[in-house]
């Protein structure tokens, strides 16, 4: 067991280091701006005095390293400073929105993950049949389509033509949970379509890879029935690849969510990021990037740790 704990600790440590490096990149990239943030924000027409005031206000006169550590200290306590544009605290801009985004991603994941894994196992079993080929073409088409293409098609049919679901996913306080599910159905469905296709393909590949192992042939030659070959002999060894597939695609959801939020005007963190980018509201941009990156790293970390924990060779060392 000591080996496993060591490996997990090592992996966690590596994740933390990567997160730190990324925070450095995010912070110091803004320093690369010609001039500085104050000049960039105020534009060329700004007077000397205005620029000086803004610098003062943002604490830009301190050395970069000092500001980085201040920023990092704040970030650890979820305080990312104030927005340059609205003067509100960054957390008040994105706090609520981050929750909404998490809700949407979870909504999509809850539908997509079981669905994709079951379908992936089925097409793996039916490999090279007609259904496998049709599924191959359909999933390839789905992952090749931009999220906004799928989103607008869904809007065109489900919302404009058939009036089944709202096209705009506006949220209000005091909505019932069912209402919420209905309002956010189309954006969630868009994400489901993209992610399911990815996950299905990867699950299929992982299982087929496994079915070629000699111990699977041995199990067949022992007279084990096909379902038992899958459940007893393939699945216990398939956890690591499947966990990996799931984590990778949840991470993919994070990127996909930005575009989908814009299509459906959903009040999530992705929209906030896009707004902030076009308004050059750097504190918000930095905060959003750090949050996205942290989630991404966390998911990858979870996948690696899961793979370590389910590896029989590591669980039962010599």
């Amino acid at each position: 067991m000591g080996d496993i704990l060591g490996l997990v600790a090592k992996r966690l440590g590596l994740g933390l280091v990567i997160l730190l490096v990324i925070s450095v990149i995010i912070f110091f990239m803004v320093e690369l701006l010609p001039g500085d943030i104050a000049e960039a924000v105020l534009g060329q027409g700004a007077t000397e005095e205005n620029v000086r005031n803004l610098r003062e206000q943002m604490g830009l006169n301190d050395p970069a390293l000092v500001r980085y550590f201040d920023w990092l200290k704040g970030a650890v306590m979820l305080d990312f400073g104030r927005s340059i544009v609205t003067q509100e605290t960054v957390m008040s801009v994105i706090g609520e929105r981050f929750r909404n985004t998490l809700f949407l991603a979870t909504y999509a994941a809850v539908i997509a993950v079981p669905f994709a894994i079951v379908l992936g196992v089925i097409v793996a079993l039916l490999r090279n049949s007609v259904f496998d080929r049709v599924a191959n073409v359909l999933t390839l088409t789905s992952i090749s389509s931009p999220e906004f293409f799928l989103g607008y098609i869904l809007i065109l049919y489900f919302s404009v033509k058939w009036s089944m679901f709202p096209a705009i996913a506006s949220l209000s306080d005091g909505m019932s949970f069912l209402d919420l599910l209905e309002r956010t159905f189309l954006p969630a469905l868009t994400l489901v379509l993209v992610v399911t296709a990815h996950m299905m393909r990867m699950t299929r590949a992982a299982i087929i890879n496994l079915l070629a192992s000699p111990y699977i042939e041995m199990a067949k030659l022992k007279g084990t029935p096909p379902w038992k070959v899958i459940v007893r002999h393939a699945l216990p060894n398939a956890w690591a690849p499947i966990i990996n597939v799931v984590a990778l695609n949840l991470a993919y959801l994070i990127t996909g969510v930005v575009l989908v939020e814009v299509v459906f005007v959903y009040p999530g963190i992705g929209q906030a990021l896009v707004d902030a980018v076009s308004k050059r509201d750097f504190p918000v941009v930095q905060a959003c990037c750090l949050i996205f990156a942290a989630t991404f790293i966390l998911l990858n970390l979870a996948a690696d740790v899961g793979a370590i924990l389910t590896n029989p060779r590591l669980r039962h060392p010599k």
């Binding site: 111990y215 041995m218 038992k228």
Partner: protein, 565 residues
């Protein structure tokens, strides 16, 4: 040998044809083979790679691997039941229960996620032959009979916690779990070292005997099959060559192909002596390890004289390949040095100059990975000539033609071809030509014949021997196969666990007294005599063979006579 051959027929295969799917078409693999196996009979299926022995073994279970199919006019009758027309469910009900399978690689064929005993009891529980506790007790009983160490406990380990030889026996036990009528052994000892192999062979023979189980024993090793089988069937490219009882087959083969197989081991090059020769390579007190790992070589010293062949013999993990890496400079030693004609050879190949690199060439075991598949033969052979001797244009072409002539390949035919278009033996010849192109004085041959069929391997050995005399080459011949040593070596170095346990001229090495390890190694090599295993077990007893025996050997022990053991 069991004398009674008048038992009832268990397996009757008639006109078996199997096709495989390659390049969008079905090509025949098995071209109409008949086979009759009686209850309690052990039949050896023997042939070179591509003979289709393994495919026949699977077909005997009514099983066609992915990408193969059994044609409709074939007939496989097991105990009165026609398998080709049976439903998948009926066929499946036989597998594990009445026909069991033992695979070549036990390490890969045990599921890493389950304990050995749980995999053992799967079939009896599935067929409701036994309750779980009974099945486990039976497993422990079988482990006992197969002489596994700690039979009470070994089943409760995971496959990766158990050694290869033990796993192979555990798999035999697993095959026995339902007391089947027939077991298919698919090269069960090919992946094992000789000293381990003998233990597994003894255990398999014993248990098949005890339960009077019929078996198909598939192998490419004649000496092994001679110990195990009552009858032998020889296969070539999906067709039967001949079949006869073991003794008759060994003493009096009928077909030319069989005779040629039997004759292989006759080649033996005359032994050269050191007299009048200069010492070329001298390995002095070398210790080596891969970065921070355990010591692989421990105080290794030996000399190689010009124009002579030194065979380095040992089992996997003995450090013989590592020694070659130290000499070629791929792995600088921690301690000690390598001398070339008395001068120190730079430890790292990157520090050697062109002239030094040229002197020492290498030929590899796997010709597939030794030749770049995307480069023409002419360039593979021509590159060293160009690189070291600066040849170009017509001179280079002449040189390549000359080299192709030397390795007995027609230059005009092979000049523009690529390695994947050649057979295994031809590829190995190209590897030799590449080494010769550098005009070296010393060549390391790393298991050059072990991936080849016996007939082809002999051709390579004869070629190497001829070239040695022609160019006064020194060979370091790394091998685990004592038959190869016997046919080509002038001197022998025996290694075990990174140490040299014995060295000397070949004649001396093959005549007693031996170092105990050499003795164990020599005695473990199966011989063509069908009584060999029986005699050996009688002479030595079970305690003095196999893994346990080799673990107990002290590298500094004195030489012994075989009768003393």
């Amino acid at each position: 040998m069991k004398p009674n051959k008048k038992k009832e027929v268990l397996l009757k295969i008639r006109n078996l044809k199997i096709e495989g799917y390659t390049d969008e078409t079905w090509v025949p693999i098995i071209k109409g083979v008949d086979l009759t196996l009686h209850r309690g009979e052990v039949m050896g299926l023997i042939g070179e790679s591509g003979a289709g022995k393994s495919t026949i073994g699977a077909a005997a279970m009514g099983y066609a691997r992915d990408g193969t199919r059994i044609t409709e006019d074939s007939s496989i009758e097991f105990d009165g039941m026609e398998l080709t027309t049976a439903t998948e469910g009926e066929r499946r009900a036989l597998r594990g229960a009445r026909i069991a399978y033992v695979a070549q690689s036990a390490a890969a064929s045990f599921n890493p996620a389950h304990k050995i005993i749980d995999q053992h009891t799967e079939a009896p529980l599935h067929y409701r032959l036994k309750k779980r506790m009974e099945a486990q007790e039976d497993a422990i009983d079988l482990y006992n009979r197969l002489r596994l160490p700690n039979p009470e406990e070994i089943g409760f380990r995971y496959p990766h916690q158990v050694s290869g030889g033990q796993l192979q026996r555990a798999m035999t036990a697993m095959a026995m779990s339902c007391r089947p009528d027939l077991i298919i052994f698919d090269e069960p000892t090919t992946a094992l070292d000789v000293t381990t192999q003998i233990e597994v062979l003894a255990a398999i023979r014993d248990i098949v005997d005890q339960f009077d189980t019929a078996a198909l024993y598939i192998t490419h090793d004649l000496a092994v099959v001679a110990q195990m089988a009552d009858t032998i069937k020889v296969l070539l490219k999906g067709e039967e060559v001949e079949e006869a009882p073991t003794k008759q087959m060994l003493d009096n083969p009928q077909e030319d192909y069989t005779k040629s197989l039997w004759a292989v081991r006759s080649f033996e090059s005359p032994q050269r002596s050191r007299e009048g020769r200069e010492c070329l390579i001298s390995v002095k007190n070398v210790d080596a390890a891969y970065s921070a790992g355990p010591k692989i070589l421990d105080d290794v010293s030996f000399d190689i004289y010009e124009g002579m062949t030194v065979a380095v013999v040992g089992e996997s993990g003995s450090g013989k390949s590592t020694t070659a890496r130290v000499i070629t400079g791929l792995l600088p030693p921690q301690k000690g040095e390598v001398l070339f004609k008395g001068e120190p050879f730079p430890a790292d190949y990157r520090d050697r100059n062109k002239e030094q690199l040229r002197q020492c060439q290498m030929i590899y075991q796997m010709a597939d990975t030794a030749l770049n598949p995307k480069v023409k033969i002419s360039e593979i052979i021509g590159r060293p000539a160009k690189f070291y001797s600066g040849l170009s244009g017509a001179a280079l072409k002449n040189r390549v033609d000359e080299l192709l002539d030397l390795i007995e390949l027609e230059p005009s035919q092979y000049y523009n071809r690529y390695p994947p278009e050649l057979s295994g033996g031809q590829k190995q010849r190209i590897g030799i030509a590449r080494a010769l192109a550098a005009e070296p004085s010393f060549i390391v041959c790393d298991e050059v014949t072990s991936a080849l069929d016996q007939l082809v391997a002999e051709g390579i050995l004869r070629l190497l021997d001829r070239l040695q005399d022609e160019f006064n080459l020194a060979y370091m011949f790394i091998t685990h196969d004592l038959a190869t040593v016997r046919s080509i070596a002038d001197e022998v170095v025996v290694m075990q666990n990174g140490q040299v346990v014995e060295q000397g001229p070949k004649g001396e090495m093959f005549t007693p007294p031996h170092h105990p390890y050499t003795d164990l190694l020599l005695s473990s090599v199966p011989e063509m005599d069908p009584e060999w295993l029986t005699t050996l077990l009688e002479e030595r007893g079970l305690e003095n063979i196999g893994e346990a025996a080799s673990d107990n050997i002290d590298p500094d022990a004195k030489k012994v006579m075989p009768s003393d053991v």
